[in-house]
């Protein structure tokens, strides 16, 4: 599978470019839309927490707005990858039905095209961090790349699973929408996970999304190297490897039938 991805890297690049451009090709302000929604949502959440709940205190010495953004940006990346990823096979039905095509490259496309938006957001985040004189993150860029990699592996393996099932059951997209929504609130993204105690706190280790969100924060705000969190690393990778195994099994089983089922 990985060999196939490398062999088709030219095609993957073309598909990613086409995917990113094609989304908003017909709108005049197409370069604005991928960024506007996350931007407004961030503002709204910040308003609700600081003015509504009066809870916008600094978290471990970090201004609340900074703390909020560093959690939201990796969430946008992850949620965009998987919400768009569910249609990644169905979207190319016209090609799969008419030409021999390396279908296994498709679930990767959405993750990669979301990475384009994500890198822009990261750039903005870096500027904000510099503005707050939190310059330490520069030494932790490799650490950040590790978490970007984790996020990409996780969302891509979810995409292999959902996009293959979606070919048969269109309900998958609706279920996924609900799950993404629940994950957003149940994962400590806009609230502090350290407030949990006892068994609930242990449960967080079963949530690979929290590992990524927390990783971004630890890296950028608190300058913690990722290898310090051995429990987190092991639980994340065990869960992810199981997911990769299950997804690739299902994908490979259904692969030969896609052209007939689409």
């Amino acid at each position: 599978m990985i060999k196939n991805l490398i062999n088709n890297k030219d095609l993957i690049l073309i598909l990613v470019k086409r995917d990113f451009e094609g989304r908003y090709k017909n709108s005049v302000l197409y370069f604005v839309w991928p960024f506007l929604h996350p931007f407004l949502l961030t503002l709204t959440l910040w308003f609700v927490f600081t003015c509504g709940f009066k809870n916008g205190n600094s978290v471990n010495g970090i201004p609340f707005i900074l703390w909020l953004i560093t959690g939201l940006i990796p969430w946008y990346f992850f949620s965009e990858s998987i919400s768009k990823g569910v249609i990644s096979i169905k979207e190319y039905a016209y090609i799969i039905k008419n030409m021999p095509f390396p279908i296994e490259i498709l679930p990767v496309i959405k993750t990669l095209s979301s990475l384009i938006t994500h890198s822009f957001f990261l750039l903005v985040l870096f500027l904000i961090l510099l503005f707050y004189h939190l310059n330490n993150f520069i030494f932790f860029i490799p650490n950040l790349i590790y978490f970007i990699f984790c996020s990409m592996i996780l969302s891509t393996s979810i995409n292999y699973f959902t996009s293959s099932i979606f070919v048969i059951f269109k309900d998958t997209a609706e279920i996924l929408k609900i799950l993404v929504n629940f994950t957003f609130w149940l994962t400590p993204i806009i609230w502090n996970g350290n407030l949990l105690t006892g068994k609930l706190k242990m449960l967080l280790y079963l949530n690979p999304v929290y590992y990524i969100i927390n990783g971004y924060r630890d890296t950028l705000l608190y300058s913690k190297p990722f290898w310090n969190d051995l429990k987190g690393i092991s639980s994340f990778w065990i869960i992810t490897l199981i997911l990769i195994y299950v997804s690739s099994k299902i994908f490979n089983k259904l692969k030969s039938g896609f052209a007939d089922m689409l």
């Binding site: 030219d10 095609l11 073309i14 086409r18 090709k25 016209y94 030409m99 052209a259």
Partner: protein, 245 residues
């Protein structure tokens, strides 16, 4: 040299009334309850290098399914298909085109799916555009094209790949007489280079004009496989047989 070897290939599709049917079937042990539609049943045939083979038959006899199996798009339920050589198949024209992208972008996309590298595409673009004769339109979005222009562009992109085996479904029916002739000339050119062509058609005239071998499919199996000269007789036989039934 045998380029395509098909042995005992069968292909069937499961027929469901709706999604509930499908789910019910997935979890039930009684697999015989679903209706199977056999498209091909124990079909065997060989295609040698340099042959030009026509595939004929009534609607729904399995022509397109056979071409899809040969191209490696869909896979047989049982039996084997061996291919030697690069296959390009033109099963439908222009379906890979994105209406909002320019002709040029679409050519690049289409050609890269067909396995051409960036360099090869670059060297072939001029040839593709000039064969399609769409001029300056190539820089504009596909949605501004007429149906004929779209078809011409799709066709010239598809044949610009240099395959060993060319598989074509009934796509020549579109296009004006001038472009049709141009395409046929290109096919003849292919043939002279010793390449293999397999194409499905309903036009006996066209088939007799440039194929040596014809295969008639009927009721999921091969009804006739032989010299194109005899095709008229067998075709008539098939029609009378169906009319009687």
């Amino acid at each position: 040299m045998c380029l395509i070897k098909i042995e005992n290939v069968s292909k069937s599709f499961k027929l469901y009334h709706n999604m509930y049917d499908k789910v019910k079937n997935m979890f039930s042990f009684n697999k015989s309850s679903i209706k199977l539609h056999n498209v091909l049943k124990n079909v065997s045939l060989n295609v040698d290098k340099g042959e030009t083979v026509a595939i004929l038959g009534m609607n729904g006899c399995g022509k397109t399914t056979l071409l899809r199996l040969i191209s490696g798009i869909s896979f047989p339920d049982s039996g084997n298909i061996n291919r030697n050589g690069k296959i390009t198949s033109i099963l439908s024209l222009g379906s890979g085109f994105h209406p909002d992208f320019s002709g040029l972008d679409n050519i690049k996309f289409y050609a890269s799916i067909m396995g051409l590298s960036k360099k090869e595409i670059k060297s072939k673009i001029e040839e593709i555009v000039s064969f399609a004769e769409i001029g300056d339109f190539v820089n504009y979005p596909i949605k501004t094209y007429s149906a004929g222009m779209k078809m011409r562009l799709a066709f010239s992109t598809a044949i610009s790949v240099d395959p060993d085996i060319l598989v074509i479904d009934e796509v020549l029916a579109v296009g004006d007489a001038y472009f049709k002739k141009k395409c046929l000339d290109r096919f003849k050119n292919f043939k002279e280079q010793g390449k293999t062509i397999i194409f499905a058609s309903h036009s006996l005239g066209l088939v007799k004009q440039f194929c040596e071998r014809a295969i008639i499919l009927n009721e999921a199996s091969i009804f006739f496989d032989g010299e194109v000269g005899q095709v008229d007789d067998y075709y008539k036989k098939l029609i009378t047989k169906r009319t009687i039934n």
